[in-house]
């Protein structure tokens, strides 16, 4: 199916790529079907795009990228709703707020979006932990992570070049997780 989006123009997605959010994202209960779009800009930020409203899209990012110790504890009822046996079978995203001043971008750690990628269902879960803020500043951490990644990649490319003629093996670490992500460059 072809999905119109305000940010990405027309995107073609398969039925198996539709992520259902039965209760909607908080504040947007009317939209229940989304897809994940990777703009292909190597920032690790993906966009949760509403299929029902072209103008509704949320920037999302895996919180472990900028806060490695972060973990989301789900209740038994929430796991049931997501058809999960445990939270490790899911992918956890923070919804980002990106203002005009991009350095002020923040992530919502209190209410992450938990996706069961196998079943393609998701829920915005409100965590009980009081120390999790809905506005966690993380621009610096993300930028640092991207710089480290880029440096590693360059070092690897150099190593590959030095091995000219040999078949280069790809490090398993560089293979992205099997996300159902729509790449615009595909």
């Amino acid at each position: 199916m072809i999905v119109k989006t305000g940010r990405f123009g027309q995107v073609t997605i398969g039925d198996e790529e539709i992520i259902r959010i039965p209760q909607g994202v908080l504040g947007f209960p009317e939209y229940k079907k989304f897809c994940l779009v990777d703009p292909g800009d190597d920032t690790l930020i993906l966009w949760l795009q509403s299929i029902e409203n072209p103008d509704v899209a949320f920037a999302v990012l895996e919180p472990k990228i900028f806060k490695p110790e972060y973990s989301a504890k789900l209740s038994a009822a929430e796991l049931r709703e997501l058809k999960l046996d445990n939270v490790n079978q899911s992918t956890v995203f923070s919804i980002l707020t990106i203002p005009e001043d991009i350095t002020q971008m923040s992530a919502n750690l209190k209410a992450p979006l938990v996706i069961n990628l196998k079943e393609q269902i998701a829920k915005q879960v409100v965590l009980q932990e009081n120390e999790f803020t809905i506005k966690y500043m993380m621009f610096k951490e993300l930028k640092m992570h991207l710089m480290t990644m880029s440096a590693q990649r360059k070092a690897q490319e150099k190593a590959v070049q030095e091995q000219a003629g040999k078949i280069a093996a790809v490090s398993i670490k560089n293979i992205p997780p099997s996300l159902m992500v729509k790449s615009l460059q595909a």
Binding site: R7, V25, L26, G27, F28, P39, D41, D42, T43, I45, V56, A57, F58, A59, S75, A76, A77, I95, L96, T97, I98, P99, E100, I102, T103, M105, N108, K110, A111, Q124, V126, Q128, I134, K135, F139, L142, K143, L146, S150
Partner: protein, 74 residues
């Protein structure tokens, strides 16, 4: 909505496992104690309102992806 009147120290039982006690009444404020199974989620209503507002702000993002990318990688 079910409306009940309770005095200080009295409580309300919800299902078999949830108990809400009026712990203190002070002017316009009521302090409640809540006993519930560990997996029951209990939040002040404002938490939901704040998350809804934050989501609305997040969905409003008008900056272009190219700008975000440039700021992060530049």
């Amino acid at each position: 909505m079910l409306v009940l009147t309770r005095k200080l120290g009295e409580s309300i039982a919800i299902d078999d496992h949830i108990k809400i006690v009026v712990v203190q009444i002070k002017g316009k404020q009521v302090r409640l104690g809540i006993q519930a199974p560990k997996e029951t989620k209990i939040h002040r209503e404002e938490v939901y309102a704040a998350i809804q507002d934050q989501n609305k702000e997040a969905a409003k993002a008008s900056v272009g992806i190219a700008q975000v990318s440039k700021a992060l990688k530049g």
